[in-house]
């Protein structure tokens, strides 16, 4: 049970944070199709940072948590920088946002694989020494306790074999959701995605707000990309994130562009991902029987269910879906 919840969270956290990235961009009026590309780029930057730091012995293994937080910050910062490409073409040049996003989705893996290949002569780049679990995972030994220390159910669930990144992302998610709904800035940002002309007439700088939305979006997807690489790919960058960016897009739509429902959707889709990855060995009620394997449903069903559900939900809710009204339309001061 503990294993199932923890595994689900490992998949749900990147989905949640990247879906929030999508919300920030779309509520400001910019379709960010490049979530996937920015994730790939962020993962690469974070892993490269970890490598360089390890190579130069800046951090010791005891300071792993510190290194991880620093790498998360680097991934977020460079993800934001990368997303400026989209913001520039979509806001200043009023170009087609879907094409701009597609371009970033193509550019990121090409760029990342080009450099990985140059640096390692392989198609993947991992850590310089050690692995993600021994450097970054919170274990009994992190607190100076023996390896097989038992924290009790809740303790095992919350602080044994987890990554600090999970909690950082959860806090970020909460803080940013509050900002989006309870502050002046958030209200202004959302108004630019609904009716930019009205917002402009009230003295809000639509371009600035849209830049802010896209940049926050880029930072969150870069961060999400690195967290994904850290927790599911043993801190390795391979020029792909297995379609997580697109899945996050589905999560966002499923969550109807609001943070709370999106978080729930992320957990649901994370559960599907988790079942698909571990269904053969998963033991839900602890009786030693892998129940899901015995039901005999193919893992591919769990893998495609999130996409299928999203399609069905879209089909049924298309009439009262809460799509930001002005998303995808370049803001032109002259038009009304």
């Amino acid at each position: 049970m503990v294993f199932l919840i923890q595994q689900t969270m490992i998949y749900a956290i990147p989905l949640m944070i990247v879906a929030l990235a999508g919300i920030f961009a779309e509520r400001s009026g910019i379709i960010n199709l490049a979530l996937e590309g920015i994730m790939i780029f962020g993962a690469f930057c974070g892993v490269l940072f970890v490598r360089i730091m390890q190579e130069n012995n800046v951090f010791t293994q005891q300071q792993g948590q510190l290194l991880m937080v620093a790498a998360m910050a680097v991934a977020a910062a460079l993800g934001a920088l990368f997303s400026l490409l989209l913001a520039f073409s979509a806001i200043n040049l009023k170009a087609d946002q879907t094409i701009g996003g597609t371009a970033l989705n193509m550019l990121a893996p090409a760029f990342v694989l080009f450099f990985i290949n140059l640096l390692t002569h392989q198609t993947a780049m991992g850590m310089y020494v050690g692995d993600a679990a021994s450097w970054f995972m919170i274990k009994p030994s992190t607190f100076g306790l023996p390896r097989d220390h038992d924290f009790g159910f809740l303790g095992n669930l919350l602080i044994n074999k987890v990554y600090l990144s999970t909690y950082i992302c959860l806090i970020l998610f909460l803080v940013l959701s509050v900002i989006l709904y309870k502050t002046k800035f958030g209200l202004r940002l959302r108004s630019c995605g609904e009716n930019p002309q009205a917002a402009d007439s009230l003295g809000i700088n639509v371009y600035k707000m849209r830049y802010a939305g896209t940049t926050i979006s880029g930072a969150l997807s870069g961060l999400g990309g690195f967290v994904y690489a850290l927790t599911t790919a043993n801190c390795a960058s391979t020029g792909e994130v297995a379609g997580f960016g697109f899945l996050a897009l589905a999560v966002m739509i499923f969550g109807n562009w609001t943070p709370l429902s999106t978080a729930l959707a992320a957990v649901l889709f994370g559960l599907f991902k988790c079942i698909a990855a571990t269904y053969a060995s998963i033991d839900i009620n602890g009786d030693g029987v892998a129940m899901l394997a015995q039901i005999g449903v193919s893992p591919y069903v769990y893998r495609l269910l999130p996409y299928l559900i999203t399609l069905v939900v879209l089909a049924f809710t298309s009439k009262n879906s809460r799509v930001p009204k002005a998303e995808g339309i370049p803001y032109d001061k002259g038009s009304r």
Binding site: I31, L33, L85, S89, L93, K94, A95, D96, T98, I99, G100, T102, A103, L104, N105, M106, L107, P109, A110, F111, L113, F114, N117, L118, E240, A242, G243, F246, L247, L249, A250, I253, S298, Y300, V301, R303, L304, Y307, L308, T310, L311, L314, A315, S318, V323
Partner: protein
């Protein structure tokens, strides 16, 4: 807006919309290549393993990779390389067709980012038919035709899903295409996982299907394999060109094509004018899907390529590359033939870079992505051209 020459009364060459599209495409290509060159130089200067000569060789191959004939006594040699050109034509075949797929949808105002999914469904259908219909009882030629049509049909059906959702429920086709892409990736992997088409006999081929030539099904060479001896080329490229011409005629010479374009320009106005917008949107996606399906069929039915079926985590790049092909061609079906070949030339250049220098093939993907990024604001380039012309004509007026 046409500008006519004052003296002759003819349309000026530089004023035509087509010419502007060509110019803006060429500018995009030029900047893309420039970015690639800059990265090659930058990386070369910052890494110890690459000398000044290495940098120069990298740049040479980016521009002239198609004519590379390998190394001759330490130096790169260039010349007319029939194998490269044949392979270029072979790789251009699916690119032209996915490019057409994206272009036709674009003309109807739809962004077909679902080409990878349609391509995968076409792949599954055509490989399945080509391998499971016994050629001992059915002539191989008929099996080939069946497999080709099956691929088209599967792609068309898959394209119809986002089309129908767009037409009846007005759901953004980009989102539904992305979802159907990943559903297709999982379905296809599932299908091949359960099938008996997996290559179980050759070690090192785990995860691949059999080649269709195992069952004797192979696209005929139509003489091209003789001209470009030693390359992978076959009659598929001719079929692709014929399809492109058919698409051109359909889009610009028939009522149906006119209706499609009218829906693309303004769906509501088209409806007001008595055009069945729902039917046209679905048909446009069906045609787009069929084209992507035919791309897959022609690629895999060549008989010498094996499909890596465990693809649930990745979508085929050739589907996405249909987007730059269509954008570069400004959605003109005839121009798609050339932009498809251009992409394929870049591909070949990438492979030469990988085998002959310290660089790798991904630099060409960077160039392609840059071109897509630039074509997003091809409108701006066109406006600049217009402004330059205006200034020129104003100056002319003063004299």
């Amino acid at each position: 807006m046409y500008r006519l020459d004052k003296e002759t009364g003819k349309q000026k060459f530089f004023a035509g919309d087509g010419t502007k599209s060509v110019i803006s495409a060429l500018i995009s290509i030029f900047i893309g290549m420039l970015v690639g060159t800059l990265i090659v130089v930058f990386v070369g200067l910052n890494s110890d393993g690459i000398s000044a000569k290495g940098i120069l060789e990298g740049i040479k191959l980016i521009f002239l990779g198609l004519f590379s004939t390998g190394r001759d006594g330490g130096d790169l040699s260039f010349g007319f390389n029939v194998v490269n050109i044949g392979n270029m034509l072979f790789r251009a075949t699916p690119l032209i067709l996915t490019g057409l797929s994206v272009a036709v949808a674009f003309k109807t105002g739809l962004f077909n980012i679902g080409a990878p999914g349609q391509y995968l469904m076409g792949t599954a259908a055509s490989i399945c038919i080509a391998l499971s219909v016994p050629t001992s009882s059915v002539p191989a030629g008929i099996v080939w035709v069946l497999a080709f049509c099956g691929g088209i049909l599967a792609g068309a059906l898959w394209g119809a899903v986002p089309g129908a959702l767009k037409a009846f429920l007005n759901i953004n086709e980009v989102i539904t295409c992305i979802m159907t892409n990943w559903i297709a990736a999982n379905l296809v992997t599932w299908f091949f996982d359960k099938s008996n088409l997996k290559n179980m006999t050759e070690a090192g081929k785990v995860g691949y299907t059999y080649k269709t030539s195992v069952n004797g099904v192979q696209t005929p060479g139509l003489g091209l394999d003789k001209i470009f001896a030693g390359s992978q080329v076959n009659g598929g490229i001719i079929i692709a060109v014929i399809i492109a011409v058919i698409m051109y005629v359909m889009m610009s010479k028939t009522t149906f094509g006119y209706e499609l374009k009218a829906c693309g320009a303004n769906r509501h106005a088209a409806k007001y004018a008595g055009i069945n917008d729902k039917k046209n949107i679905i048909l446009s996606m069906v045609i787009a899907g069929g084209l992507s399906g035919s791309a897959a069929a022609l690629y895999w039915l060549s008989g010498h390529t094996e499909f890596y079926w465990s693809t649930y985590q990745a979508l085929p790049a050739v589907g996405f590359n249909g987007i730059p092909v269509a954008l570069l061609a400004a959605n003109n079906p005839i121009a798609v033939i050339f932009s498809g070949c251009f992409m394929s030339i870049l591909n070949i250049a990438g492979m030469q870079l990988k085998t002959l220098t310290a660089y790798n093939e991904y630099i060409t993907d960077i160039i392609i992505a840059t071109i897509v990024y630039l074509s997003a604001f091809s409108m701006m380039i066109k406006t600049i051209i217009n402004n330059v012309q205006k200034k020129k004509s104003e100056k002319g007026g003063e004299k």
